[in-house]
Symmetry: C2
Subunit: 203 residues, 2 copies
């Protein structure tokens, strides 16, 4: 393995280890030594990549933002409209929160009082949900009287709440939780002619 490849790999394992430790212990109590040990690298190697714990948290958040950006982009395919993309994205997000510790830690860092600068991940997610709902409104897919802004706020609050609850008890990440939410929300949100499945693809 050439030197550069090794550096990329070390950086990746540090981000993953940091995500695990932040999600388990919270940001403030997490120690750089615990993180470097978890990643199987020396403290020196950690400091070569990240000067401070804050930088490491930033890297976790950046990677989580990338994963979520790829996820939401993938839902806007040629078939299905913006509302279907939104529904699919929430399923995808719950899957990520359940399986991808970097995404989970990214959300945890947003709600962590000890880390003030956070919440870019939630901002990105919120912005995307608002955009896709505005598009749905433009295309005549929203029921009359529905405000895209209010609907986006409700959807973002549910996803953030499920993340917090799932961190304590993983059953909150189960598919039935988000199916239950959509089965209550969709009838008020979508115009009658818009056909939606609670989930487009069994993934």
């Amino acid at each position: 393995m050439v030197k550069q490849e090794r550096a990329v790999r070390t950086r990746k394992s540090l981000i993953r280890a940091a995500a695990e430790v932040f999600a388990e212990e919270g940001y403030a109590p997490a120690s750089l030594t615990t993180i470097s040990k978890r990643a199987g690298v020396s403290n020196g190697a950690l400091h070569f990549h990240f000067q401070t714990k804050n930088e490491l948290a930033q890297a976790v958040e950046d990677e989580a933002v990338d994963v979520v950006a790829r996820l939401v982009k993938g839902t806007l395919g040629p078939e299905g409209g913006p509302l279907q993309a939104l529904v699919d994205a929430t399923y995808g997000l719950m899957g990520c929160l359940s399986d991808d510790i970097v995404v989970r830690a990214g959300f945890e860092l947003c709600g962590d009082r000890a880390r003030r600068s956070g919440s870019q991940l939630v901002r990105h997610w919120h912005q995307w949900v608002e955009e896709v709902l505005s598009r749905a409104e433009e295309e005549g897919h929203l029921a009359s009287g529905v405000s895209p802004e209010d609907a986006a706020a409700a959807i973002v609050a549910v996803t953030v709440g499920l993340e917090v609850l799932g961190g304590e008890d993983p059953r909150w990440f189960a598919e039935r939780r988000i199916i239950g939410f959509w089965s209550l929300l969709l009838p008020s949100l979508a115009r009658e002619h818009v056909l939606l499945s609670p989930r487009r693809n069994a993934r």
Copy 2:
């Protein structure tokens, strides 16, 4: 002021100061010295009432549980059915999260990874929401096919999410957020004959 009264008052101001510091900094970084200074009492007085930070956090949670228990009890009046009580309770809860630092800190402690034993407040709230929805089902107020369990999960997730988001930006506690949520959810949740106002009393 007799000695006992003074002790009760000191205990109260310690709980309030602890709630403020936990909500601002998170549980792990909060120091007992910061808390006793904020309460205007000596470290000795703090230790007379609370042996550890954990005991103080427990007292914050216990008081938050009491406040929420009184709040939900007050909504189950003779007029209005269980669904109206539920709607009123969510407005009341948002008001508490906005104005009562002890309730806000109680919820924050539930989501704080550094504090493992938490979440009794969310459990109590969840249990009450499920009970009131089961009563609504028994009384024939739920739309057909609605599962009280799924609806309770959605409502709890929204309230927990709004708390986390509001801790960062108080606009999430604004009345229009919860009004927006109910205006989307109620049409699917309630039987047609059940008349509900998004808010019974202008408080």
